[in-house]
């Protein structure tokens, strides 16, 4: 069987197994889609097009799949999509985009806290949760909030600077 044929069969088999219909709000948009009983929220989101949610370790260690699930930073690889009925999900694209970036996203760019960029969506979500609770975090609190996010490029110094800068931007925006 050709590679195309195998892919087609896989897609067909997958579609047969997506037998649970769920409704949830993703980035402010009401979505209805099918999932399987054991599909993770990470795989569900990526399958329906939210590719800004990155797939890293799939065991809750790296934080690249972080989303805000009902306001809380959550490893989407550690949640079943079927359990998220009527939940509110925000991915990093839901905070802002290239044309209208969120102050946190702007701070990450301005501080040069991005290298390969794979961990950045997760970092942005972790920072958002921190800054919505605490607009003036100290370095310890920033490290604690980012404790579930791994970055193999930057060494964290610029990321921590970016979070401080984001806090400044958000305070100024609010003021």
């Amino acid at each position: 069987m050709s590679t195309f044929g195998k892919k087609k069969n896989y897609k067909k088999r997958l579609e047969d197994k997506l037998n649970i219909k769920i409704s949830l709000n993703i980035n402010g948009e009401e979505i209805q889609a099918n999932t399987s009983a054991t599909e993770t929220l990470l795989n569900f989101l990526r399958r329906i097009g939210y590719k800004d949610v990155k797939c890293g370790c799939e065991e809750g260690s790296c934080g690249s799949c972080l989303v805000l699930l009902d306001g809380k930073a959550t490893n989407s690889c550690q949640v079943f999509a079927a359990s998220c009925e009527n939940s509110k999900v925000i991915t990093s694209n839901g905070l802002g985009d290239t044309n209208d970036p969120h102050p946190i996203q702007k701070a990450f760019v301005d501080a040069g806290a991005v290298q390969c960029g794979f961990c950045t969506p997760g970092m942005v979500i972790a920072t958002y949760e921190l800054l919505t609770k605490n607009m003036q975090p100290n370095e310890e609190e920033i490290k604690e909030a980012l404790s579930g996010n791994l970055c193999r490029c930057t060494g964290y110094v610029k990321i921590i600077e970016a979070v401080k800068l984001a806090a400044d931007y958000m305070r100024n925006t609010k003021g």
Binding site: L14, D16, K17, N19, I20, S36, A37, T38, E39, T40, E59, G60, S61, G63, L66, K72, A73, T74, N75, C77, Q78, V79, F80, A82, S83, E85, A126, E144, A145, L146, S147, G148, N149
Partner: protein
């Protein structure tokens, strides 16, 4: 892994949920789901989503040093609650805060629940060791009650869903806890916690110690604890003898030999008891 024959149930209240589980124990309750997704063991017939069961709460009665924590309360919710109270670092709430704060990572603590953690009870649990220093009852099904140590031994032998835990702690005691792991965000190799009370003549009046990460998940031996009674806090040799002659019953795993873990524990426990008390 995708399995089609699994079903999700979302009961309207806790009564419906535990009856569903009692009727078919293969339909498993789901808390934060971190434990289930870690093992990816989907041999069960279905999942019970407990989100409508109102099990996320903390109720404290300061007059009787009693705290009730709902099974679906997450580690971060407990941490935030304790941070907003006037706790002392060496109080029971102080060490519970310290234990839970070092567990996993911030986003995982948004998911890990008290009930799920007790039900799953992994060997690296940061929750269980401090709980053994208090008088803890696990409330399950139709308000049935079981003591924590009995629960740990018997939890796999009867179908149940945890509703809440009741913690009765002693405010007169001083508490301490310490974790040993390779890195901060790694699983705990072991955690030891102890509480103590001193008499006016600087002797140990009461001492309770529990160690998680051992062969049976938790080491809690009343005979070992009793050996500390009436020991002078200046009797370093006596203390060394009690700790270093004891067998804490570790098992060898892919990272450490049992003997190595035992020696590290003895050294850390000895230093902690000597310096703290």
């Amino acid at each position: 892994m995708i399995k089609t024959n699994l079903k999700w149930y979302t009961p309207e209240n806790f009564d419906e949920a535990y009856k569903l589980h009692l009727n078919n124990p293969s339909i498993m309750p789901c808390g934060g789901t971190t434990g289930i997704l870690r093992t990816k063991n989907f041999k069960n017939e279905g999942f019970i989503n407990l989100k409508n069961c109102n099990l996320s709460y903390i109720k404290e009665d300061k007059n009787s040093s009693l705290i009730k924590i709902g099974a679906l309360t997450t580690f971060n919710e407990v941490i935030d609650y304790i941070k907003n109270t006037s706790y002392k670092k060496n109080s029971f709430l102080g060490i519970l805060l310290s234990s839970l704060s070092s567990s996993a990572s911030h986003p995982l603590r948004n998911r890990i629940t008290i009930g799920g953690s007790l039900f799953d009870l992994p060997i690296w649990s940061d929750l269980i060791s401090p709980l053994f220093l208090a008088n803890v009852d696990v409330i399950y099904n139709d308000d049935k009650k079981i003591n924590l140590s009995n629960y740990v031994e018997e939890r796999k032998s009867f179908p149940h869903i945890i509703k809440e835990i009741e913690i009765h702690y002693d405010e007169k005691q001083s508490y301490f806890t310490q974790r040993y792991s390779l890195t901060n965000f790694d699983y705990a190799v072991f955690r030891f916690s102890f509480s103590y009370l001193l008499s006016s003549d600087k002797r140990i009046k009461s001492f309770i110690c529990s160690i998680s990460g051992t062969k049976n998940i938790i080491y809690f031996d009343r005979d070992f604890n009793d050996r500390f009674n009436d020991l002078s806090i200046n009797d370093e040799e006596g203390l060394r003898k009690i700790i270093f002659s004891n067998d804490f019953n570790f098992s060898t795993d892919f990272r450490f030999d049992a003997e190595y873990k035992s020696q590290v524990l003895k050294s850390l426990l000895f230093d902690a008891v000597k310096n703290i008390i």
